[in-house]
Symmetry: C3
Subunit: 253 residues, 3 copies
Amino acid sequence: MITLTSDFGSPYPAAMKGVVLRRSDARLVDVTHRLPRGDVRAAAFWLRFVLPEFPSAVHLAVIDPGVGTERDALAIRAGEHALVGPDNGVLLPAARELVGESTLAAFRIEVEDPESATFHGRDVFAPAAADVHEAGVENLSSIDYLYPATDAVDFRFPRPQIEGDRARGEVLVVDDFGNVITNVPGDFLDGAERVRVNDERIPVGETFAAVSEGAPLVTVGSHGNVECDVNDGRGDEAFGLAPGDEVRLVVDR
Amino acid sequence: MITLTSDFGSPYPAAMKGVVLRRSDARLVDVTHRLPRGDVRAAAFWLRFVLPEFPSAVHLAVIDPGVGTERDALAIRAGEHALVGPDNGVLLPAARELVGESTLAAFRIEVEDPESATFHGRDVFAPAAADVHEAGVENLSSIDYLYPATDAVDFRFPRPQIEGDRARGEVLVVDDFGNVITNVPGDFLDGAERVRVNDERIPVGETFAAVSEGAPLVTVGSHGNVECDVNDGRGDEAFGLAPGDEVRLVVDR
Amino acid sequence: MITLTSDFGSPYPAAMKGVVLRRSDARLVDVTHRLPRGDVRAAAFWLRFVLPEFPSAVHLAVIDPGVGTERDALAIRAGEHALVGPDNGVLLPAARELVGESTLAAFRIEVEDPESATFHGRDVFAPAAADVHEAGVENLSSIDYLYPATDAVDFRFPRPQIEGDRARGEVLVVDDFGNVITNVPGDFLDGAERVRVNDERIPVGETFAAVSEGAPLVTVGSHGNVECDVNDGRGDEAFGLAPGDEVRLVVDR
């Protein structure tokens, strides 16, 4: 199984699929091709969220604002999974989440003179993902154009500051529904019925239906983090929050 | 085969796919994940339109504005098909359309304490769809967390009032092209060359090309209902119509 | 393998998939269903770009502004591939690109009285694609409703006028990123460091990162043509260019 993730929209992902299918009979599963353009942090977040749901697979993930520059290309073994994509940090958070007790092994993909300078998804990453799949995740070192990588670019999500009933966090991503997903872990809200979000008092609810339609709420999302949402509406608009914004939360007892 | 339908956009559907694939080797086919948010009627319409085209399959359909509330979760056997989704009526019109001579059998999905309160697509419905697929549609009662459901929420599309050459109907959905799909059956137009739509005289055409580019027409869509369209344009804008609006049609002889 | 391409958005493509799957176990691969509506030239461009990446397959492509009119329906054998779609030129450029040394063979699909006049994707093309797949690409003439077609509508992209350092070309398509793809072949830029685009001096770069964020550049895209782009921005907006517009390029030595 090979999963595919990118920020390519349409129809470029199909070229990657064609390239893979010329080299492999693997089942292909689209994760999404509508990630925010060139947003390494959002891509790292969503890959970490989605990939652990999958059985062992090769995960091709191309969010690559530096395409054609000197940035490396990576294949990472993470337990029974492998991840293939640019060396810009996008793969590491998901790889760590997948790996459990195992250790990560990172390899640099060395492709001489790819056909294009702007579509390494097609010319570098898709062929590598297919080859990794065919060789088997445990045999990455048998692929002759893979070399051990010791200095892969890492990415860490910003950590919130939490003291008792107060948290200072950050918006990581806004999802398609407009839900504002922060980096504050959900247990911060344990037992709270109301929380101040940047000084506005908002009810805490377990589900959207805890408040009336169009009303704001704070909840714990399916990723385990604190979210600022609106029932049947867009949290980003109601709270005036965007990725990267600071969020101050104070539990209102 | 398992089909997947939701209003989740991207990338949440991928989490459902991962969950299914950990439990089943079934072929997965996306119907769409871009249904109008939380719109049970539109979802019921499109499922009824699309699912009968498929060979026997398990159809996972999550349009679930009440997620996390007391609403039940359902698995329905409809002939050789099964439908899995929330108990809000979204499944019933398609199930009836699929079932032919057979009778429907509805089961309540009882899952204790799902991991999240807001993503039952991942935590309740996807595992159930995979389990139904693995057990086989004819063996729903062998799944230990399914219980016969006797009071599933039904949904019926509003019926138009038709008297001779006059119909009073309603807009059911607007499709991606902007075509305005009403609940008036196509045979209402039999033999008509013009029809008044809310008092405006519009030509009836069999194809878009029956009128010049940018011009409005009334036609019978591929679902068999009367549509208000524009050739190479958006019917919803030209006619000023949205889902739920009343449509008065008078055949103009 | 059957690939699917259309301008249908959602959820109409699912009806085509259902129809195919009732007739065939073929692997289905979506190319895209978000091509610009009714734009034969854009569809011809993207099909020519994407399909050659695939191993041998049946390619179902429905961009069909003339649906329901007298236009024919086609199945074309192109080497080990087959293409199925409307006879409006959309298939020919890709077919020629695929065919290598072989010759094309075109067949007219004759279906009496399809169920709808507006959804031949479901009622004509999808069944034909499945039947072609089941019969095998080499056996098109064994399908009883296919007849040799001698006058298929062709489509040729406009050719640029190039004299030395000057080119007069045209915008063929704008992609999802806003990149403006012209019909001028990339080798026109060989060795150039700057080019005037409709009298504005623009740097030539091999990658987006050749210029600062938000700055315009001219590059050679992954299809081999000259593109007018913006690093981390939209070229169509910065250059004020849309499909069909004239582009005058002068290499600035």
